[in-house]
Amino acid sequence: MTASAGLAASFRYTFGRGNPNRRQVLLGLPTVLFLLFLFAIPVARFMLLPIADGTIEPYVKALTGELFLLVIWNTFKIAAYVTLFSFLLGYPVAYFLTVAPPVWRLIGFFCVLIPFWTSILVRTYAWLVILGRRGIINETLLSAGIIETPLAMLHSTPAVLLGMVHVLMPFFIFPVYSVMQRIDTNLISAARGLGAPDWRVFLSVYLPLTLPGVLSGATLVFILSMGFFITPALLGGGRVTMISVLIEQYVNTFLDWQFAGALSAVLLAVTLIAYGLMKWAMKGDKKW
């Protein structure tokens, strides 16, 4: 559910702010109906299970239980870190794609897209192979005699972050790239000509101009991170608990669908609040 909200945001960005006319609305109708009946209604039913059973106690528990608050906070933190790292690593990549000569741009795009087209499961397993007890890194270090016992790299927050940033970075790179590409290089020349040293050109002109893309990409990455499951489940190995991992446990292990529904509702609420905040932050650029 979170992914579709994020994608909607990115599409809105990509296709501008024009008012759709009536025919365009009709064109979207099949998709809307499809999503409504096969996605929104089942999900809503799932999240409203407790209410259907005449109780709100699971919601209260999900919002007050110390463990659950901790997991929510943890999820939020991980999503925030993933977003931050996607920015720090993805921004230069987007810039490179923007300014690189055609051949290098092609190679760059290839490097970003290949993992993007590979299943998340495959990519996550690849990290298991690399980081595992008997993985590539440990084997190499062991045989080189640098370490005596294998390093425990998996099942830790850094491993989860690494895997998630890897999977989600393209979602940051593309919106930023699309904005960077449209920036008039004369603006950069103008700023330099008016006396701005390079760092000021970046901070006062380039960064603000790319901000819509950055916020759009960050929203996407953050929202996808909040609901991320496979990577934290596999690379976290139960030690790094994100809310979606918890939901899965309540569904599959404890068979407590009521509470799983309540947790999902909480996840959706937190995500929507974060999304709303980011939208609000983006409002500043409406003026230009």
């Binding site: 020349s189 000509g193 008016l194 006396g195 701005a196 000021r200 650029d285 230009w288």
Partner: protein, 362 residues
Amino acid sequence: MSDLSLKGIAKHFGDVVALEHVDLELARGEFTTILGPSGSGKTTMLRIVAGFEHQDAGQVLVRGKDVTQLAPAKRNMGMVFQNYALFPHMTVAENVAFPLRMRRTGRAEIRERVGWSLDTVALGGYEERYPSQLSGGQQQRVALARAIVFDPELLLLDEPFGALDRKLREQMQLEVKRLQRRLNLTTLFVTHDQEEALILSDSIAVMNAGRIEQLGTPRAVYAEPASRFVADFIGESNLFQGRVRAITNGLLVIETEAGHTLHARARDGLVEGHSVSALVRPERPQPTDGGLSGINDFEGEIIEAVYMGESEKYRVALDGGLEFLVRWPGQGEARTRSEGGRLAFSISPDDLHVIAVDGSKK
């Protein structure tokens, strides 16, 4: 000492020679226009002066100081770009304040200078608007205000009026000219619009394929072009190829390839046998009542008549096949000068400009 001098500037991009060898001097307060067709290297030249592009050879001197190694930020030049290049995320006031903030000017002074600058371009009261909320002409003025607010040593303008409609363009031209005069700004102006160049400039550098073909006052480049290219590029012209047959009584007798004889005022350096081009501007011929007795008397049939409001243009086929373009003040009513009619005119030898063919580039 000139404010700006370019010495032997050359620049190529891969195989393309953008500038071959350019020398140019601008005195304090001079308004010089770089005029030339698309791709002749005008923008490249301006970008080299501003420091956005680095020349392969030659020097750029500002007030006698070599700025070749200086970054654009250190050159202290105000530039207006063709598309204005206003920062869309900043208000008008912030845009204009930008160069001052980069120079760490104090708050109070910034406010004062920005106010002065916006008043100068008649945009007081627009401080809080964003560029997207302004018309093209207003954006243009903001760009100008931003370029002059920090007392630049040079003002560089790259086709700043290209995007404006005719009326606004003419108005802005006059405003820029007035401003430039008042502030005594040394200005390098780029355009491919010859009319604009003639109106605004103290001197015009006509560029062709990476070279300056002629540098001179508007009057000089219009009335006495140094080459066929300049004659052709600026204004409308009647250009005839020919040869000097004789020199009599201080007049050159030129025989055109089509067999006509033209008389022109003699000029130093031209002797019998020289290949020349003869130029007559279309407004120069004087109407006559038909006699072909004097020198430079012609008569022919009007094959095309175009009414242009303030003037009327006739294409005249002379007997012998030569075509002649004549432009005279518009008449109140369509009279005898209509298509199919006859037109007789005479050209004073002083109105015939002779260009030695050797002196012209292909």
